[in-house]
Symmetry: C2
Subunit: 336 residues, 2 copies
């Protein structure tokens, strides 16, 4: 039996027992954006790590070195944001082909340093090694959070409003532009989408702000697309979910390009992934107040896209009618 027969989630289920062995009682291991370890009476440490491999996660010609340096850190910071924490340090492991131009490396580190400074996440160590032909990047980030404010995937409650902190699908649209070799230079909409894909900004302030509300029950970052990410909340919280397709927030830029190139904007928004905004579930009684304050603070709405229901299938509705999606979320070991 090959890995491709069981897929990423099959693999995780298969190896989870090894991860959970010897796990101290006060520690949270796999099953969330970060691992959580107690630091002291009131605070916990967060740890996350992400691997980016050339030709799997990025194309050398599809992203500048500077953007790649920025994004490599951003995807990890987004996991810290998803738990409501603040980053404290980053560690980079870097596998590099020998023929990489030194200027490419300078640009990569300039991008990494830019976000490192902006987010107060000093780069404190790592490992550099030769790789045969592809660039391989692994970043691990440490963070901290007040233990009573950490948001998990497992704490959604039936009746919660499901909401997202930003437009969805810009990154997926940007990837389309790169893969379809569309010239984005002269098209501001296209540039916006490529930027969203190549240089996402982790929503650390939004995550820390949402974490101050007890009424925010569950949270994660939108990395694989809500179609896939909402299922993780469903699985961990043992609940169902209903998404109102018409409520999925889509930017004017994506709408316009989808029309121009014949893309399905809703499908891109639901399954494109790599948006790196936050998805959270909020007590319906408190949602209006939190949404109002969010909009005041961050100058954009907290978009309501659905409702947590009792355990069951993920249901998409359009004009109050149940509909089906053809595509499923991103599984790294199966082709869609």
């Amino acid at each position: 039996m090959k890995l491709s027969d069981i897929g990423e989630f099959g693999l995780i289920h298969r190896i989870a027992p090894h991860f959970l062995q010897n796990q101290p009682d006060d520690v949270r291991g796999i099953g969330d954006d970060c691992a959580v370890l107690p630091l002291n009476e009131t605070e916990s440490q967060l740890i996350t790590t992400d691997m980016l491999i050339e030709d799997i996660h990025f194309l050398r010609d599809g992203i500048t070195a500077r953007q790649l340096g920025y994004k490599s850190l951003a995807v990890n910071l987004s996991d810290i944001a998803a738990m409501g924490g603040s980053p404290t340090a980053a560690f980079l492991s870097f596998g590099l082909p020998e023929d990489i131009p030194v200027e490419w490396l300078d640009d990569f580190f300039a991008g990494l340093a830019e976000l490192s400074q902006k987010s107060c996440t000093p780069l404190l160590g790592g490992d550099t090694t030769k790789s045969m032909d592809r660039i391989i990047i692994n970043i691990a980030v440490l963070g901290r959070a007040r233990s009573d404010r950490i948001k998990y995937r497992s704490t959604a409650q039936i009746g919660d409003v499901i909401c997202v902190t930003d437009f969805l699908g810009d990154s997926g649209g940007g990837l389309n532009i790169i893969l379809q070799d569309i010239n984005a230079e002269m098209n501001p909409n296209a540039r916006q989408l490529v930027q969203a894909h190549c240089q996402p900004d982790p929503q650390l302030q939004e995550g820390a702000w949402l974490a101050t509300y007890d009424a925010v029950h569950a949270m994660l970052d939108v990395s694989d697309g809500i179609e896939s990410d909402i299922r993780r909340i469903m699985e961990e919280s043992r609940v169902g979910a209903r998404i109102n397709v018409d409520d999925i927030p889509i930017s004017t830029a994506l709408r316009s390009l989808a029309e121009q190139f014949g893309w399905n904007a809703i499908e891109i928004a639901a399954t494109g992934g790599e948006d790196y905004c936050l998805l959270c579930t909020i007590c319906p009684r408190d949602f209006p107040v939190i949404a109002r304050h969010f909009e005041k603070k961050f100058a954009r709405p907290l978009f309501k896209i659905g409702i947590i229901e009792k355990e069951g299938a993920l249901a998409y509705y359009q004009n109050s009618t149940l509909i089906h999606f053809a595509r499923h979320g991103w599984d790294h070991f199966r082709m869609k």
Copy 2:
């Protein structure tokens, strides 16, 4: 200019400013086996991360999956040992080709779990992703240590005795056996060397024990070979060193195989690398007592191999005569 033109140390010097930017005063970043962050009044956190790439660090046919799982964790634990710390948690990022047999994965995790349990290092998270063709493993390990007992590379003193905690070169000899396709099945010496290469045991107890002595000044683990590793102490401590080639401890197994196959045992011992024992520098006054206690506790000598001298070149002596080595330590971006 290509990466291969500047080499690994050129790269590290080039990127170090990015790492050191924004580094808090009470934090130690690059330049040692682990980064060191204060945890509380008396304790610090240690962080280390290592990337292993198929065909660079291992051959799929040259090591069993179980050994590879064990070794992937061992090389990180060895960095924790080198600072005198205890490991607390491990995080695995795993890049996997789709055609990997599930049984291979089961064996890998069995090996990883074996050392995880033996060393009380629970595996608390990570990332799994597809890779195009090669297996890529990145493990990050957290540890802790009493801040006043942490051993650095930068604290060697002139006159210190340089010693190692085990035989050198068994791992390098084991690699020779694998690369030269020598059948080790029927040869216990060859099996011992292959075992040393494929399944090294991190010297956590030795490291923690040595760290209790103030007279142990500097310490690191022998990962690239003493020829290369001693230079790191020289650079960080701004000292020189003199190695007595006749004192380099070589196992009977390596001696015997070197004779059989015409290898230069001393060269393998000095430059082979991946021994994952510890190299430390000890105040000459205290060395005899510490060495006696070490031998009593660990049932093998603490091998004296040289002396720390004032800043200058690394000097090898044989029968009191200065000699030269043809090979240099392992630089991941230059071929020897």
